[in-house]
Amino acid sequence: MSTRSIGQEFVKGLWDENPVFRQLLGLCPTLAVTGWVINGLAMGLATSFVLIFSSLVVSSIKKFIPSQVRIASYIVIIATFVTIADRCMAAFFPLISKNLGPYIPLIVVNCIILGRQEAFSSRNSVGRSFIDALGMSSGFVLALLILSSIREVLGVGTFLGLQVMGTWFKPWIIMILPPGAFLTLGILLGIALHIERKTKARK
């Protein structure tokens, strides 16, 4: 179906179809957990795990599923992987699990995942779906990383808990609070679009 090369299939998720900056999908976790880099990272990885595995499953059993129960089945599949991720995090990284709280279960309804299953995995081969999921996940992790780095550095003066700003710096607490999340993402979106327009204009 798709005419892209495998490489392109992967790369598109990083920028051209970046789920956060370009498609505006999965914004809820993006905003909610990016106060700290470690949380952003954990969320990104958990989402990637779910995205990749459910893509694999969906693309391999897509033939059997009648369209009327498609969404219901996909949701159950996704939810299963989310529960697995949630449980494993609670078992092995209790602290992070506590920090992310109920946002991990929300991966189920993260628009990226269902969207990708519908848009891609249900129509493409297992291999392609895997690459696509990998690309999308990387794009998502990248976006979370950028956002959480800005917020953590400005908001508390640290990066992954390490002090990076000098003592002269007064942390901007707002950055790790809800308003800071919205403002940062809003401005980042503006910048992303500006860059996009500039490069397009050059072409």
């Binding site: 599923i65 009648p66 599949i77 449980r87 609670a90 078992a91 609070l177």
Partner: protein, 201 residues
């Protein structure tokens, strides 16, 4: 096969599969998760009631749990109270250790809070807040000292330090401590703190 049959079979099958998968995962992780949960409480008890070897849950009600800490010989070395109350933004849950006579606070530990990072969240910070609770005499009602100070010496006997800019959170902790101490004394008087309850370990 008709469409309806396929719909039913596929969805049910997916459901069954998911159920079995999750059951397996649960089996594999259940113990660890339970262990993590217990360890957190246990560690907290150990911290606020030093010398504890084993601990038991003595009493439980909404927003208040009392544990008893015993040394190797089974002698009560102190109470650990886990209490919750509303702070500036949300629930604050803390663990408070007292000596057996409830005259002195060993130390205070914050288990969960949703206060503003960098501000109210400093109730979880040793340097500016928690250290002032260590070995505090609590026979009298504790009060807050404003404005904030740097060292114990600047506080009077029954005074507790505030956090600059977070009076509400500091006060919330103080009130929570005062009220749970009162409740503890009352419970002890009533004799509800019998130690036959189940062992935590």
């Amino acid at each position: 096969m008709s469409l309806s049959a396929r719909m039913i079979i596929v969805l049910t099958f997916v459901g069954l599969l998911s159920g079995s998968f999750l059951a397996t995962v649960d089996l594999l992780t259940k113990e660890r998760i339970e262990l993590n949960r217990q360890r957190e409480i246990e560690e907290a008890i150990l911290q606020v009631v030093p010398g504890t070897h084993s601990s038991q849950k003595l009493y439980e009600e909404k927003d208040l749990t009392v544990y008893g800490g015993k040394d190797k010989k089974g002698i009560l070395v102190g109470f650990a109270i886990q209490a919750s109350g509303i702070g500036f933004q949300g629930k604050i849950t803390l663990m408070l250790g007292t000596n057996p006579s409830i005259k002195k606070i060993n130390s205070l530990k914050v288990i969960d809070q949703k206060e503003t990072p960098g501000l109210g969240a400093k109730i979880n910070d040793r340097e500016s807040f928690l250290k002032f609770w260590d070995n505090k005499d609590c026979s009298n009602l504790l009060t807050l000292h404003k404005p904030a100070v740097k060292t114990q010496e600047e506080l009077s006997h029954s005074e507790i330090n505030t956090i600059t800019g977070a009076t509400i959170s500091s006060e919330a902790v103080l009130n929570l401590v005062n009220s749970s101490l009162n409740r503890l004394r009352q419970l002890e008087k009533e004799g509800s703190l019998s130690s036959e309850e189940q062992d935590v370990n």
